[in-house]
Amino acid sequence: MIQDDLRCIWLIAAKDMRTYYLKPPAISWGIVFPLAWTLAFFLRSPGDFEDLVPGLIAMTILFSTTAAEAVVINFELRIGSLERLLLAPVRTDAVLLGKVLGGFLFGLLMTSVVTLSTVVGLRLRPDLAALIPVVLISLLVYSSMGALFSVGFKEVFEAQTFLNLPRFLMVFLCGVVYPISAMPEGLQLLSRVLPLTYTVEGLRTAFFSGSSSPQTASLVLVGFLLIFIYPAAKILQKRFE
């Protein structure tokens, strides 16, 4: 049974890579948006650009994974092919994990390009032992978040629109656009319950060292992963009851 589920997870992710990675919503939200964001930050302060690298990587992770999830889940919900996957002799959770893996791999591709180009271009020396776990767990967290927000909708645009609420809230409160310490107390508290804050903290520590530990950030992110993936699986099951 587990072997069947694992095979199914990989097959779905591999099929999604071939089928959906070049769909317009994946390109616009998953590739063009992070690149445009990077360019905007660079033009604003080319001298301090390296300080912004953790934030840019965090946003690339966020937008690429969530955009990919909306595409790989909602396209299939619309044309009914997600049902076809659920007809296979595997558990519903395996189908969802296959979808999450599809978003994860798309995000990994985009994040690798952004990270490698900034690290090489700016001659940065991140602590890879801290960087890699934070990036990988974050990719899973936002891919799961994308899945959670996508399984409730049928159309890609609905999921993308609804996803913008948490995405932009996190972007403005994670400390990249404005320092968290300078925010009003209420917003500081709110920023502490948003996963992107921990991704940015973990990445900052990986790039520049810092007061917070990347292990703590990774642990908190694992908590968020569970918070997102469990209800996503339940909603998907419920959809087909």
Binding site: M1, D4, R7, C8, L11, K15, R18, T19, Y20, I79, G80, S81, E83, R84, L85, L86, L87, A88, P89, V90, R91, F240, E241
Partner: protein, 322 residues
Amino acid sequence: MRSIEVRGLTKRFGDLVAVDGISFDVEEGEVFGLLGPNGSGKTTTIRMLVGLSRPTAGTAKVLGYDLSSGIVEAKRRIGVVPDSSNLYEELTARENLLFMAGLYGVPKADREDRAEELLRAFGLSGRGDDRFGTFSRGMKRALTIAAALIHDPHLLFLDEPTVGLDVVAARSLRSLISDLHDRGLTIVLTTHYLEEADHLCDRIAILVRGRVVGIDTPEGLKRSADEEPVIEVTFGRSAFDLWPRLSERLPGSGVFLLEGSRVRITGGDPSRVLEEVFEFSRGHNLGLRAINSLTPSLEDAFVRITGLSPTVMAKEKGGKGV
């Protein structure tokens, strides 16, 4: 041996009872049809039997596996063709088949051969490397059925197999289904095409508003309507606006407009029916062309059992494949 045993199967969506305590068996090797209009519960029944929807009450065994505990095992042995051809448009025909083979655990070494075999069997061997999105409706339907057979299932569910197809494609698909039946595959199909059910099915369950209102062989169902005379009348011009008046004149009979100028009358005293038809035709200057006494068709049996007009079924999905 029974391939499917259904007992008191029920599905409720809030206050709506989509399937209302139905019971039936499907024998190994037979083509079993679920016939009924839209909303009769055919698709919901199939969805429960293939594990896409959980029953609210009742039990069902598919290939000996209880739906509540052994659905994953049952899924290994069943193929499902949904009512829409929903393979992946971006993948080629061969890639779609290989993907499905992988999902169903067909050994890697056998996948290519199995895909080629099915492409050949379904007349698509020259199109294996073409994207599914470029196929015609008929070819899409054929490949969707091929995909459902990739793991060599013991039982095949076909949901409205010919809906939306042109007459030629629908005929070719029906012949394909007959071939699968000849090879011993057990098939459960839903359809709202009465002639399709008559032509393909060994037995038919008629569903209306979530209940099984009749279940028998097509011949058995027709025999049940044999007690009533069936008369078909052809007028010289359209009786479209007038036929309800004929219906009023024949209170003990069922009067159905088949086309603008053709009317079918079931039941009632034949001599009185004929008298009324002559008088009606003269009174409205319809120019009587022909009167035929018919052997009851499945359509007549359907009308008798359900009280519904067969034209309702034909119009519902707007399909051409009769």
